[in-house]
C-alpha cells in the first residue's frame, strides 16, 4: 500500500517514536530487576528460610534443574488454553452473529450467556468433570466457559456499532442482509472482538489452571496447576515459585501476542492501533 505524500513522517518524529518504544520496553524491565534485587537482598539479610520465601536466585536455579518437567506441564496447560480460546472464538463469534440477526434473538439468548459468565467455575467444574469421561476435554470446557463471555459481549456490541448513516447507505444501494453483515457490521465489530479476545486469552489460561486445581489430575499428562499443588504438598516452595513464574510468563506472552495481533489487524484505521504522536 503506497503511503500518500501528506503523511510522510519526517526524521525527527520517527526518532522520537523509536525512543518512546524503547522506554515502553525498558521501564517495566528495569522496575522488575529493581524488585528482584530488593527481594534477593531481603531474603539474605533477614535469613528467610526457602520454604517461606525462596530467593530469586534459588527460583532461577530450580527453574534450571526442574525446567524440563515444568515446561512439559506448561505445554499441556497452554494446549488446553489454546483449545478453549479457539472454541470461545468460534462459538462466541457464532453466537454474536446469531444474536445480531434480530433484537428478539439477542434478548432471548443474552441472559443465558450471562448465566454462564456469572456462575463460579469452581462450583460447576466438578459437574463437568463428572459428565465428561475425558479429563482433558472437561478442562477445555471449563476454560471455555470463562473465555466465552467477553468475546460474545464485545462482538455483539461491535456488530451493532456501525453508524446509522452507513446502514442507510447500504439500504439505498439495495444491499442484502449478508452484504451488510460482511461489508459493514463485521468490519465495524473487529476492534470490539479483538478487545474481547485480549481479555479472553488471559481468562482461558486462568480457567485452565483453576479447572485443573478442581480436577486434581495426576501423572505425566497433567498441567502446571498439578505441579503447583504437588510442590505445595511436598513443601517444595522454590519449585512452586518456578511454576508460578512460568504461568505468569505464559499469561504475559498470550496478552502480548493478542495485542500484537490486534495492532496488526487495525493498524490502518483504528485509533487504538495508531501511534500516539500522530
Amino acid at each position: 500500500m503506497s503511503r500518500s505524500a501528506p503523511d510522510a513522517a519526517p526524521g525527527a518524529p520517527a526518532r522520537a517514536r523509536e525512543n518512546g518504544r524503547l522506554r515502553r520496553l525498558l521501564a517495566p524491565v528495569g522496575l522488575g530487576f529493581l524488585f528482584l534485587g530488593a527481594w534477593e537482598w531481603a531474603v539474605r539479610a533477614f535469613a528467610i528460610p526457602p520454604y517461606l520465601l525462596p530467593a530469586p536466585s534459588l527460583i532461577a536455579q530450580t527453574l534450571g534443574s526442574d525446567g524440563a518437567s515444568l515446561l512439559a506441564s506448561l505445554g499441556i496447560t497452554l494446549l488446553i488454553t489454546a483449545a478453549a480460546l479457539g472454541a470461545a472464538v468460534l462459538l462466541g463469534g457464532l453466537l454474536a452473529l446469531l444474536m445480531a440477526q434480530s433484537r428478539t434473538l439477542e434478548a432471548a439468548l443474552f441472559p443465558y450467556a450471562v448465566v454462564l459468565q456469572v456462575t463460579p467455575l469452581v462450583a460447576i467444574a466438578p459437574l463437568i468433570i463428572i459428565w465428561t469421561d475425558n479429563i482433558a476435554l472437561s478442562l477445555v470446557i471449563c476454560a471455555w466457559i470463562v473465555a466465552f463471555f467477553p468475546i460474545v459481549a464485545n462482538t455483539t456490541l461491535g456488530l451493532n456499532s456501525a453508524a446509522r448513516e452507513l446502514h442507510d447507505l447500504f439500504r439505498l444501494n439495495g444491499a442484502t442482509r449478508w452484504q451488510t453483515l460482511r461489508l459493514l457490521r463485521v468490519p465495524a465489530a473487529l476492534p470490539y472482538f479483538l478487545a474481547g479476545l485480549r481479555i479472553s486469552g488471559g481468562l482461558a489460561l486462568i480457567g485452565a489452571v483453576v479447572a485443573e486445581f478442581v480436577a486434581g489430575t495426576g501423572g505425566t499428562s497433567s498441567g502446571l496447576a498439578s505441579r503447583i499443588l504437588e510442590a505445595g504438598y511436598r513443601l517444595q516452595i522454590p519449585r512452586m515459585f518456578a511454576a508460578l513464574l512460568l504461568l505468569s510468563a505464559a499469561g504475559l506472552a498470550i496478552f502480548w501476542a493478542l495485542s500484537a495481533l490486534s495492532r496488526q489487524l487495525l493498524r490502518h484505521w483504528h485509533e487504538s492501533a495508531l501511534d500516539p504522536e500522530r
Binding site: 448513516e165 452507513l166 439505498l172 439495495g174 484505521w269
Partner: protein, 259 residues
C-alpha cells in the same frame, strides 16, 4: 417547463414515533436537471423530507410520485449525509467502490469508474489513502464521489458542508456546481445558509418548522455559469436579501424566534 417534473410530492406528511409532527402537507415538484435548495432553520424537517424522497423512511401521509410511475431503483439516488460517513477500515477507492460492489461489480470491473469519479472530485492520487489521513473537506469529497459513482439521476445532499470552514465550503460549492453542469443530474441540496442556497440553486424552497412544510419557493435568476466571483456582486447580494426576507417572514408567521 414543458416536460413533467421528475417527481412531485402529494400532501406528504410524516409523524415520528414520539408523536411529533415532522412534516405536514408538503407539496413539492422538482424538474429534471434542476438544482433546488431546501432552506430552513434547524429542526424544520428538511432532513426528514430528504429521507422520505430517498425512500429511507415511509411517509405517514401522502406520497412521492415519480415520473414514469416506478420509484428509483437502488443507485439511481445518490445521498450525501451531513457527516462524510466513510468506512474507516476501507481506503478511499474502496469506499467509493462500495455502491458498485453492492451491485456485484468486482474491484477490477469498478476500477476505471472509481478512478474517473475520484478525478472528478479532485482526489486523484488519494485512492489508497485511509479516511483518517484526509481533511474534513477531502472526506466530504470522497462522500460525494461515492454518491456519484453509480451515475444517479438524483443527488440528495443533507447539509453536507455545514461542518466545514468557509474557504473549504466555497471551494466545494464551486466544484459541486461544475459537477452538476457536467453531469446534468437533478440536485436537492438541504442547507440552513441563505448564501449557500442562493449561490448554488436555481430555485430555493423555504421550509417553516413545527410542522415542517414548504412556505415559499423562489426562483434565483443569477447569470450562468455561476462562479466564485458571483459572491461579491450586487445582484447576488440582492438575491440573498430577497431570500432572507422571505425566510424571516416565514419564521415571524410561525412565531418562532429568528436565529
Amino acid at each position: 417547463m414543458a416536460s413533467p417534473p421528475l417527481f412531485h410530492t402529494e400532501r406528504l406528511g410524516h409523524r415520528f414515533a414520539s408523536g411529533t409532527e415532522a412534516l405536514l402537507d408538503v407539496r413539492l415538484g422538482v424538474d429534471r436537471g434542476e438544482f433546488l435548495a431546501l432552506l430552513g432553520p434547524s429542526g424544520c424537517g428538511k432532513s426528514t423530507l430528504l429521507r422520505l424522497l430517498a425512500g429511507l423512511d415511509r411517509p405517514s401521509a401522502g406520497a412521492v410520485h415519480w415520473d414514469g410511475g416506478a420509484p428509483p431503483r437502488p443507485g439511481e439516488i445518490g445521498f450525501v449525509f451531513q457527516e462524510p460517513t466513510l468506512m474507516p477500515w476501507a481506503t478511499v477507492a474502496d469506499n467509493v467502490w462500495l455502491p458498485l460492489r453492492l451491485r456485484g461489480l468486482s474491484r477490477a470491473e469498478a476500477g476505471p469508474r472509481v478512478a474517473a469519479v475520484l478525478e472528478q472530485v479532485g482526489l486523484e492520487g488519494f485512492a489508497d489513502a485511509y479516511p483518517r489521513q484526509l481533511s474534513g473537506g477531502m472526506k466530504m469529497r470522497v462522500s460525494i464521489a461515492r454518491a456519484l459513482v453509480t451515475r444517479p439521476r438524483v443527488l440528495l445532499l443533507d447539509e453536507p458542508f455545514a461542518a466545514l470552514d468557509e474557504l473549504t465550503r466555497f471551494r466545494l460549492n464551486d466544484d459541486l456546481l461544475s459537477l452538476w453542469r457536467a453531469e446534468g443530474m437533478t440536485i436537492l441540496f438541504v442547507t440552513h445558509s441563505v448564501f449557500e442556497a442562493v449561490f448554488l440553486a436555481q430555485r430555493v424552497a423555504i421550509m417553516s418548522p413545527r410542522p415542517g412544510r414548504i412556505a415559499a419557493s423562489l426562483p434565483i435568476a443569477l447569470p450562468e455559469p455561476r462562479a466564485g466571483r458571483l459572491r461579491t456582486t450586487a445582484e447576488f447580494g440582492a438575491a440573498c436579501a430577497t431570500v432572507s426576507d422571505a425566510l424571516a417572514a416565514t419564521m415571524a408567521e410561525d412565531g418562532a424566534v429568528a436565529p
